[in-house]
């Protein structure tokens, strides 16, 4: 216990090891649930529920929302929503185990917290749009898709990481001096 406290205040896994474990997790997910992982699907359910509450009937009419809308079923009653709850709970446990649970905004020293939050929001928005064009995010389309050898999955993977590689060049000043 004391060993952890003294030596492992910031324990990050080796990224390659983390990726390997993520692959094992994906195999386990396919074995247990018969599906892959998904991260944005839960948010989509929350959005559709909100739209349906604010503008009743609109979700049913809209060509996009109606695909995920079923009048008899609450959109929140979706395995992805519960997967997301589990993800938050699990991440919290893992953070607590490595002593990293506290309220904070992580940012490089030459950027303010507000700036970091604004850029993060913009990035999140773009990613949200992109994930809906691709019909899945890094987890749902790229990871789970390529795991079952779906061509769309590989293209999404190449698209996400290829674009990130190019765009990172222009935004690198935000992170490194």
């Amino acid at each position: 216990m004391d060993f952890w406290k003294e030596n492992k205040t910031h324990i990050y896994w080796n990224p390659y090891f983390g990726g390997f474990m993520l692959g094992l997790l994906l195999i386990a997910t396919f074995y247990i649930t018969g599906r892959g992982l998904g991260a944005t699907g839960g948010t989509k359910s929350a959005v559709i529920t909100t739209v349906d509450k604010v503008a009743p009937g609109y979700a049913k009419e809209s060509s996009y929302y109606s695909k995920y809308y079923d009048e008899e079923k609450n959109p929140m009653n979706n395995w992805l929503v519960f997967e997301t709850i589990g993800m938050i709970a699990g991440a919290f446990l893992s953070g607590a185990l490595s002593g990293r649970v506290k309220f904070r905004v992580q940012h490089p020293p030459h950027i303010s917290s507000n700036k970091r939050l604004i850029y993060a929001s913009i990035g999140g928005l773009l990613f949200g749009f992109g994930s809906q064009f691709a019909r899945g995010c890094t987890s749902g389309a790229a990871l789970s898709g390529s795991a079952v050898l779906s061509l769309g999955g590989f293209i999404t993977m190449a698209g996400i990481f290829g674009t990130a590689y190019i765009v990172a060049y222009f935004f690198r000043k935000m992170w490194i001096n």
Binding site: M1, I85, A89, L93, A96, V101, K102
Partner: protein, 316 residues
Amino acid sequence: MKEEIFISGRNLPHIDPHLELWHWPISLYLFLGGLAAGILFFAALVVLFRKEDKYIGAVKYATIIAPIAIGVGLLALLYDLSHVWYAWRLYVTIRLESPMSWGAWTLMLVMPVSMLWTLSYFKEYFPKWNWDFGFLSYFDWIIDFVIYHRRVLAWILVPSTILLGIYTGILLSAFNARPLWNNSILGPLFLTSGLSTGAATIILMSKSHAERRMFSMIDLVLIGIELFLIIHMLMGMLAGSQVQHEASLLLLGGEFTVSFWVFVIILGLAFPAILEIFELVGFKVPAIIPALLVLLGGIMFRFIMVEAGQLTRYLY
């Protein structure tokens, strides 16, 4: 014409085949009643053990919530009544065979005592007030009197809060036509859940590390008892007659399975228990998270039991 339906004896709207009379105010009241009982029980116990100085959050701060919780709960009950102005009739009779009568009289005792309890700490909440000044001086001697007799209040509260907590469950289990409710474990189960949410509230209101630690341990034991009772309730139903068996299936594969297992068992009991164990072992977990989860689990448990119980029925 539909005479053949009218004369069948089964035309009982909102009662047969399913009860459709108890809505969210009842669940909210059962939760708040249990919560207040839990808080006051621990506060009284602390005073009786003469540990007031060590567990200030329990005796002084969490207890402010108790009369407010009972008050809001009772307002919710009144809101749910069809004939609000007949509510006073509960207090012109004592019916030992009716759990509702027991509850009404228990509340009649607990509510004023909980208010007196908060009154006894009034001077400590507002230490800068000049109590010799103007109209305040009339209250001064009352407060001093209550402070002097705080142990008497504690002796009254210990049995009466247990009665209050257990009555919230027995109120449901007395419905002999609703198999999900009609079991003798529901009373102790609701009492345990109420004590657990009470302990969680004390953790939320406490500023001292030692106190949070103590009540985390208490909460952990209570969560264990609660899981034990839930398992035995379900086992008893599965081993029971066809109606009990079908009632339990609502929570084991039916309509309420996901909400019950995800929000009550996993997020409301097991996950906070793990977090509390982490905390006790020495990992840094903000005490507020498991406490809020226990409260969430408690409120979800009341809503699910009230909703699901109304759907279950005898087959005839």
